[in-house]
């Protein structure tokens, strides 16, 4: 049933394999720069955050941010490019595979990019910075990273489906995606918000993702509600992505 999904995903992985080194250099450079600039550079001014040095506070968030950004970017640009520039989506559609198989393949590709690039950044941060975490915490952390990457991959698919102009994609990223990531406790604790705002911020799936992932990686704590919140959001986004893509293709 998923012949088409597998074929397209394998195609995408072949392309990733061919460009893996240049991709990783580009992907690692951004969070590493932030880590060095804020984590190391500002550490002396900021001191401890939630009882931890600032560099350690932001490290898990940077790994998570890399993964979800990679998932979103791969999905949105890949889908837009294949739909509007290369017209390969059209060439897939005149074969016996279904529209759902195409969109699932693209979600899977975004997700895979997220996981691979998140892990790469994690390894680099682990290797060249003092940030350390017990390896047994990795499983709890992945329980956030996997649905988180899936959520952003689906969000990317929705953007890449409904937006026909590349500049619109850039604007959405600047106005919606990055603020959602940055305001979810990546660089500062939620306690910094006015008390009246905190419940709203906590309701965001990105907050559940970044907060939950940090706790899971640093302390090994696995809170069920944030995991459920991220997973359910990913599921809803998946259904929405498939529905929206199918509708767009039927136009």
């Amino acid at each position: 049933m998923l012949t088409g999904t597998v074929a397209i995903w394998l195609r995408d992985m072949l392309i990733l394999r061919r460009s893996i080194y240049s991709e990783l250099v580009a992907v690692v450079a951004y969070p590493l720069t932030i880590y060095l600039a804020f984590g190391i550079g500002m550490q002396g001014y900021i001191g401890l955050v939630d009882g931890a040095p600032y560099s350690l506070f932001i490290a898990p968030g940077l790994i998570t941010m890399t993964a979800v950004n990679a998932a979103y970017n791969e999905s949105v640009w890949s889908l837009w490019f294949h739909r509007r520039v290369q017209f390969t989506i059209e060439s897939y559609r005149v074969t016996p595979i279904s529209v759902s198989e195409i969109v699932i393949a693209k979600i899977l590709t975004g997700f895979t990019h997220g996981i691979i690039k998140g892990c790469a950044v994690g390894l680099v941060i682990f290797a060249i910075t003092p940030f350390r975490f017990p390896l047994e915490h990795l499983l709890q952390y992945l329980l956030f990273l996997i649905p988180g990457s899936a959520l952003f991959s689906c969000a990317g698919i929705i953007s890449g489906t409904v937006m026909d102009k590349p500049e619109t994609i850039g604007k959405v990223e600047a106005v919606l995606v990055m603020p959602l990531i940055f305001m979810s406790g990546l660089f500062f604790p939620l306690s910094s918000y006015p008390p009246s705002v905190i419940p709203w911020v906590r309701a965001l799936p990105t907050t559940a993702l970044f907060e939950g992932a940090r706790r899971a990686l640093v302390t090994g704590e696995l809170a069920a509600f944030p995991v459920l919140q991220v997973s359910l959001s990913a599921l809803v986004a998946f259904v929405a992505a498939v529905f929206i893509f199918r509708r767009k293709m039927a136009e």
């Binding site: 060439s91 005149v94 074969t95 016996p96 595979i97 039927a250």
Partner: protein, 310 residues
């Protein structure tokens, strides 16, 4: 008598108030090359998108090889090959990988598609470039690769949507040769803006405009249908053109007359008028007299008008 491969019945497609296809009836026989002509916005693309199951009609029915497009889309896509207007090649895959991906999307296994792809690359003259990326190919080579891709799974019906647009004359003729070589083994449905292409390749031609079928038949049938009128071009000796143009224009069987220097072009009601003309021109200093053949373009323009479409 061969069975119809493509049949549309009262096919209608509307986009809000705009009717792109209006009760369109068509029948294409198996194993033939069928050409669809029409000015921009005539509804050709909409029709081909419905025939290839990319789009659903508003009403009416379509069958491909006896299968309904609405209920048997997947089965139809198993047996059609599509060469779209855009090359739609994957520029990040080599020529061979493009064909392999297409084969896998058709559920073919490696042992099934390996030899087939070798043969197609050879046939299309691309075997030596199979590990190169399509971006490095000329327009003609890219087009041949798209055609090869559409043939990997051995379709029974091949749709070619403006297959030679943008190609130089040599590449265009090369594509024609490939298409001709396929004739008989599958039904070929071709849309084109090049009337010469339709004339060269197609067994039957349909002309559509404003979403409606306005004429169909062989090239000769369409030319014959244009009218019974025949057009002669007569070249007179120096200074004689004007006098004879007036004389011919006054004749009852002359429908239309034009003159350029000593050359007079006269359209006659029917070929029987020729003897009257010969009589009228008795003694005239004629350098040359020739029958002007009606072209498919004349038919096309007469049916769709000369006005440029948006």
């Amino acid at each position: 008598m061969t069975l119809p491969s493509i049949v549309t019945r009262s096919l209608t497609k509307s986009y809000g108030a705009l009717t792109a296809l209006d009760s369109f009836d068509l029948s294409v026989e198996q194993g033939t090359i069928f050409g669809l002509l029409g000015p921009n916005g005539a509804g050709k693309t909409t029709l081909i998108r419905i025939l290839t199951t990319l789009m659903n009609q508003s009403s009416g029915s379509v069958t491909i090889e006896g299968l309904d497009t609405l209920s048997s889309g997947r089965a139809i896509r198993c047996m059609i090959g599509v060469v779209s207007q855009e090359n739609s090649l994957d520029r990040y895959l080599t020529a061979r990988e493009n064909l392999e991906l297409h084969a896998r999307l058709h559920g073919m296994e490696k042992r099934q598609y390996k030899g087939r792809i070798d043969d197609l690359l050879e046939l299309m003259g691309l075997a030596g470039r199979q590990t190169d990326f399509p971006d490095t190919f000329s327009g003609g080579m890219q087009r041949r690769l798209v055609i090869a891709r559409a043939l990997v799974h051995q379709p029974r019906v091949l749709f070619l949507d403006e297959p030679t647009t943008g190609l130089d004359p040599q590449s265009r003729r090369a594509v024609w040769e490939y298409v001709r070589s396929l004739a008989g083994s599958m039904t070929i449905f071709l849309t084109t803006h090049y009337l010469e292409e339709a004339e060269q390749l197609c067994d039957r031609i349909a002309i559509m405009d404003h979403g409606r079928l306005i004429a169909s038949g062989s090239t000769q049938e369409l030319k014959d249908r244009l009218s019974g009128a025949t057009v002669y071009e007569i070249e007179f000796a120096e200074g004689e053109g004007e006098r004879y143009a007036v004389l011919l224009g006054a004749m009852s069987c002359s429908r239309n007359i034009s003159r350029l220097g000593n050359k007079v072009t006269v359209t006659l009601e029917h070929w029987e008028c020729v003897s009257e003309i010969v009589t009228a021109l008795h003694g005239a200093a004629i350098r040359r007299i020739s029958l002007k053949e009606r072209t498919l373009e004349d038919v096309f323009i007469s049916l769709t008008g000369e006005k440029v479409r948006e």
